[in-house]
Subunit: 465 residues, 4 copies
């Protein structure tokens, strides 16, 4: 039996009628012999409302004759669905002959009008592994479906296996031999502690941001009244500490993630993915936040400063490069799609091109384009050579030029001081006499300003551009 593996969608393919029959009967057989075959602690599900056992459904066009030799076609495209149900008990008890099933009219498939065959069955399992960790075992219910997909009528039947698991508490358990207990309380305490501390951090940071916004408002008004000048946007932004925003986002993610984690632990929820994405992203932000403390040392914050200084340029540059990239992506998808599996999908083309720029296996990509059509072959060479040359030799080099340029600017600022804005001018002369006199009314503001001064001068570097 030749079974093709289609890696992209985890399906298998069969190409002959015999292989389809063999595959179906193999699945039925394995289902019936479950107890003797499986190494896992699996059993059949007895579901009252839905019935139990193996349900086999075939979908086919209602009727039809097709004589490809005469280009003749007579088909009723209404789809009829036909199902049978095989009980595991029945089979085990009454020793239903395997041949009986195979010869039944149901399994006399007419492939020219067959659309799909679907085998679905439910299994239950007990996960004993948790016993090692002195936790209670979990019980699972699996809803499995095997689909033989002939929708394309292309001579290839794709076989998909799909399994959905539901976690449940075991109804009836008795475990002796050692004290098994749900020692999840310690983890719960830890989770609670995490939530509480994140909440505290969240509140403090939010308070700082709010105070900063108030201060900004007062500063803007003050400037407007005294000097009849509007404070520029960049100066306004300096009041808001970007790190605090990062901490707030990270904290919120951690809190929601931890609550989800506790719910999952308590088996009320199964949204592992959402939980892991929230907790994972917050971890990323926490680590990134550590750079802030490194930034207090002048020499350490080159990375952050250069990245922030070059970010607007890089983004603008990426816009332009992205246009060309998008153009190549669409062009490759349209032209090379039918000839190369990496170009089958718009999303895959983008990944393939991105990988090629960053040093992926180029020769294989070149070689896989079928040489059947000379025109397409020539196009593919032109396409790949031009894309790679353009992106590796010109665009990547321009990135280096952009970053080197930003680094030089930052270095110059670190040596010569920053370009002075209204805010800095104000802060500089804030404690000097002249300003002092004018601003006697707003003494608390000045104090506050004084205490903020050190941090602001660090931050001011960050907010250039």
């Amino acid at each position: 039996m030749i079974i093709g593996v289609d890696e992209d969608d985890y399906s298998r393919s069969v190409y002959t009628q015999q292989d389809v029959y063999d595959s179906i009967f193999f699945a039925i057989n394995q289902y019936h012999q479950l107890k003797n075959v499986s190494l896992g602690t699996l059993g059949y599900e007895h579901d009252e409302d839905d019935g139990s056992g193996l349900k086999i459904c075939k979908q086919q066009y209602k009727k039809g004759t097709m004589l490809p030799s005469n280009d003749t076609l007579n088909i009723d495209v209404a789809i009829e669905t036909d199902c049978i149900r095989l009980e595991p008990q029945a089979l085990a008890n009454k020793k239903v002959n395997d041949l009986d099933i195979k010869n039944s009219s149901f399994f006399n498939l007419e492939f020219y009008r067959l659309i799909q065959v679907e085998l679905s069955f439910k299994l239950k399992g007990i996960d004993l592994q948790t016993i090692h960790a002195r936790e209670l075992p979990d019980c699972y219910a699996f809803q499995n479906t095997i689909t033989f997909n002939n929708k394309a009528h292309s001579g290839k039947v794709k076989i998909y296996f799909d399994s959905d698991a539901d976690i449940q508490e075991c109804k009836d358990w008795y475990i002796s031999g050692s004290i098994v207990q749900k020692n999840t309380q310690y983890i719960l305490v830890f989770d609670g502690f995490v939530i509480v501390s994140c909440f505290a951090s969240l509140i403090l940071c939010t308070r700082s941001i709010i105070l900063a916004l108030k201060l900004q408002k007062r500063f803007v008004n003050f400037f407007l009244e005294k000097y009849q000048r509007h404070v520029c946007h960049a100066d306004r932004l300096e009041f808001i500490n970007g790190w605090y925003v990062l901490v707030i986002i990270s904290d919120m993610m951690t809190i929601v993630g931890s609550i989800l984690k506790m719910e999952i632990k308590a088996k009320n929820l199964t949204s592992y993915d959402v939980c892991s994405i929230l907790l994972g992203t917050s971890t990323l932000f926490v680590w990134v936040g550590v750079i802030r403390y490194l930034g207090y040392f002048q020499t350490y914050n080159v990375l952050i400063l250069t990245m922030q200084a070059s970010l607007p340029k890089v983004l603008r540059f990426c816009c332009c490069a992205g246009m060309i990239y998008l153009g190549y992506t669409f062009c490759g998808w349209i032209v090379l799609g039918p000839y190369h599996e990496k170009f089958e999908d718009l999303n895959t083309v983008a990944e393939c091109l991105f990988s090629l720029v960053n040093g992926d296996d180029m020769f294989a990509t070149f070689a896989q384009i079928q040489q059947k059509s000379t025109l397409v072959w020539l196009f593919s060479r032109l396409y790949l050579y031009s894309f790679i040359s353009l992106f590796i030799y010109m665009i990547l080099s321009l990135f280096i030029a952009l970053i080197t340029d930003s680094y030089d600017t930052i270095k110059k600022y670190q040596q010569n001081g920053l370009p002075v804005t209204d805010l800095h001018e104000f802060l500089k002369e804030c404690s000097s006499i002249e300003y002092g006199k004018e601003l006697q009314a707003s003494v608390p503001f000045i104090c506050c300003c004084g205490s903020h001064r050190r941090r602001q001068s660090d931050d001011s570097l960050i907010l250039i551009n």
Copy 2:
């Protein structure tokens, strides 16, 4: 049976006489059992003029004896071709014994004089998949050829499978159960709309180019008469907007491509490749054209400016680097060709070297060169180390130097203004009094010039070199 896979030309290879016979009889067998084996809606073709069924032809040298043990050879190199035809019906009805065929004298192949065996047969198929999209099914005629190629007489017989498909409208169809209709009119309307708008864009851009050329002519004459100066080539080029040229090319491609697409839809043509290349390339150009609009923001057009500023240098540089590259390509092909599959073909060598420079799987390339000949092994090491070092460490670094240099130039221009040419000088003083007096005769020209001024000043940046 050992069947080797030769990935480069999608052929299979067999190495023993038994395997050749088995392969031939397997193909015959599968053809006869088509109905019982195939999952697709396939049928035999009944072609009156060409006959039907499976046609098997063998080509061999007319006669010969060959005694390799005695270095003796007696051969008539005239090629004789011998064919038989196996009818599917005949076989099915009369139950022709498989053994009869196998033992027939035709299949008593004398491999020392056999050149090739060719199995050719026609099949017809109906593509039902379109029914899902509520379109009419298509009928296909497949012309298949299986070739057992022994031309090399090297002890290896290569097997090729080749299939050509012709799309046809089905002659006789009756589909009930749901309203199936050729709902292609919407797509046709859309295609028509695309063609019309591209045509409009094409005309407008062509008009702009023509007007610009006229303006250029007048400007050149004016300059020659008034100042006795010839306008330099660069200044003349500034009148032609490169973006318009891009749009024109893109539009023409889209129009031709869309017409082809409509013809393919109407099943009059099957040149998918030409159509997809035209539409794909025009898509690429459209996306690249978007950069133009980004270029209206001063800070956004760094990519385009730097690319255009560095392009002449890069091209000149590529000429030189290309010489060394070509030298290495030829050298590798000549020396390493017989020892490494990546060096078998001039075209493949170029791809392999290009991939190596851009970070391909180097170790595998190193390792695959057989260590049989120490001299070649040493040469291959010298060749690869020198090529990679030269190109990655020197030439790629020079690219970066070139681009960085161009970026610095562009940055300086953006800060200090451009170097002034005759045209700019003229445009600058165009609205000032002195020029104005002199040019009173050509007032409409000046207005035109004035309206063009803004755009030109953007473009002028682009045309620096």
Copy 3:
């Protein structure tokens, strides 16, 4: 039999009960037929105290019934271990029937409570290969264990093979036909010579370092007394020659490594790994040390100078980049762990990301993430695109900026001379008259200083920053 290969831990997996039985009996069978199967010179071990033969142990939960269909579970988690021993002689002599073993109650495994089956046996072998080198053959004792691990109760049984070898001198050997002798004395002499010369080098370098430290102390005191100035840390460090430290470490490693090597040769020790790591690292240091002599030529030491000048910056920069890297590592591990084998392990994630930055097979990494959960799929794209873009386009470019900057600094120093420190000032005027007079008391010091001067001026370059 379907046997899955898990590449990461060199295990195999089986999925059905029959496969488990087959694997166990295959192992037993091969053990009994050792003499007829193996090509090596292997024999059974007769161990008095431990017994001999094949020991099979199964671990299982004490008792239990499990009805997954009813979510019912009754298990005694106390683990009972049951062993049998199969004597090779017994089997060979008495022709114990294979069937007897297979049908014994021991092999009636109840998989739902089975934890693991372990087959352990000892073999002895003689390594004849050494005879070619005219050395005595070695005898080995192998302790082999085959483990069928069902701890997860997941339906997959993992099979591990583990073999530990002990080298022993053969007890009783008689070799005729050619004079076999332990000609290891020459190697011993060579090892001894290496140790002696490394020891000499070690002593000399240590002496230099100690003298330099003394000189430094005197210099510091002298400066404090005469000029009331503290000598800065950088100036102090200049007294210690970094190369000498490298030589000392290298020498110590070589000495310890060589002693280990002699012990291994004499079959007293088997710690090959420690020995090879010591000797390998010392070789690396010796080669690096060669650069020192190249550094005596002004133009040659650009690499070392630039590396040393940029090292502090690079390290500081790596701290910051490392935070982001760590963040991505943790985030990837938490979120993508269950979906991609490269993200299963924290250590593997780090390697995978590091490899991706340096041009690894990106497309494969993209493609392998299962498309089952759209959320995770989207996250993975965002994660990979952002990580690769950030690290390749920004951080790698910043590295280039850092190094280019350092190179320019070094080049400027080489042209214009170094920035002058106290020490250099002192050394410069050391031989001039004014200083000379003041320092008459410390003439020997000045001479010493004079002789050191040339080397110091070289070193001073190295110790910038």
Copy 4:
């Protein structure tokens, strides 16, 4: 039968006694059935002096008993060789029973003392493929050897197949049906033409070099007499045109290569490799030589100029980096050799590290190191991370810094003119009056100098350092 493939040396491995016997008898069998199995035109060789047929030799230690269980060993290491010869005719005629051979005492191998089994046989073949090209067919004699290597006595027998081909003219041939003729005369004429033109080029270039050397001598003497100044080495080198040297080398290689090619065509020689290396390298040089003509345009020779300007720096830099590279190579070989196939061989380690730096599959290299010994595993991580970081982040970046620096220098020279040497000073004033008067005696020299001037000024750029 489990047959392992060892990719590095094109061998196969077997692990059981049965597999060894099966492999031997399969080879014997295939040899006997050659006519019925092979697809090629092969026959047995009848060699009078050497005998014909299949020669099987086994080498084993003279006698021995080995009881690994008791660590007991009694062996006579003298090697005895035992051979039998199986005639193909004999076997075919007398229908020697296969079983007779298998049961013969010769094939009763005692593996504990067996060293190797060697099957050798000669075959003759006729290459008919040339008939298509209307050339005469070639006859080949193949000397084949199959070696079962048990030297290691490790339980694994390696099987090597080695085939040497000798090309011969067929003794006795009669080809009818079409005019077959050795139409090699055209190729001979072409080869002759190539040789003659290369010879002409060689003579002219040599003459130029000799004249240039004479001119140099006169210039040196003239300078010494008139100005009492020695001409510096760089000025002397400017007289010798490096391109001419390249052309001379290329020409000599082409001539020798073409002569070899003609000899191979005439079947007097079979040194394909030497011929292809000579012709390939000369092709490389010819293409590189084309750059010279591009260099006549000022703007085109940036690549060559920058490469030549940076070459000394790069080479000096490579010396230093090479030391660290060598250190890592040795260190990796010593420590990781037994754990990773890429580190088995000093040469392979160098290739692997070189590939890693240039973007090879890193993750696979990381992953393949067995995790058995934690110490080695830790070392390997440290080794790989440090090596890759050092080389990719620091050394590759320094390359870019070096090249960028050289490019800037070249650009400055192109804008501001070159630094002036004695020769240029002299050439500059060569045609001016003052010099002219002094040098009236050497007028022909000055003319010559004048004619050389243009070329020299181009070359002078090239020879900067």
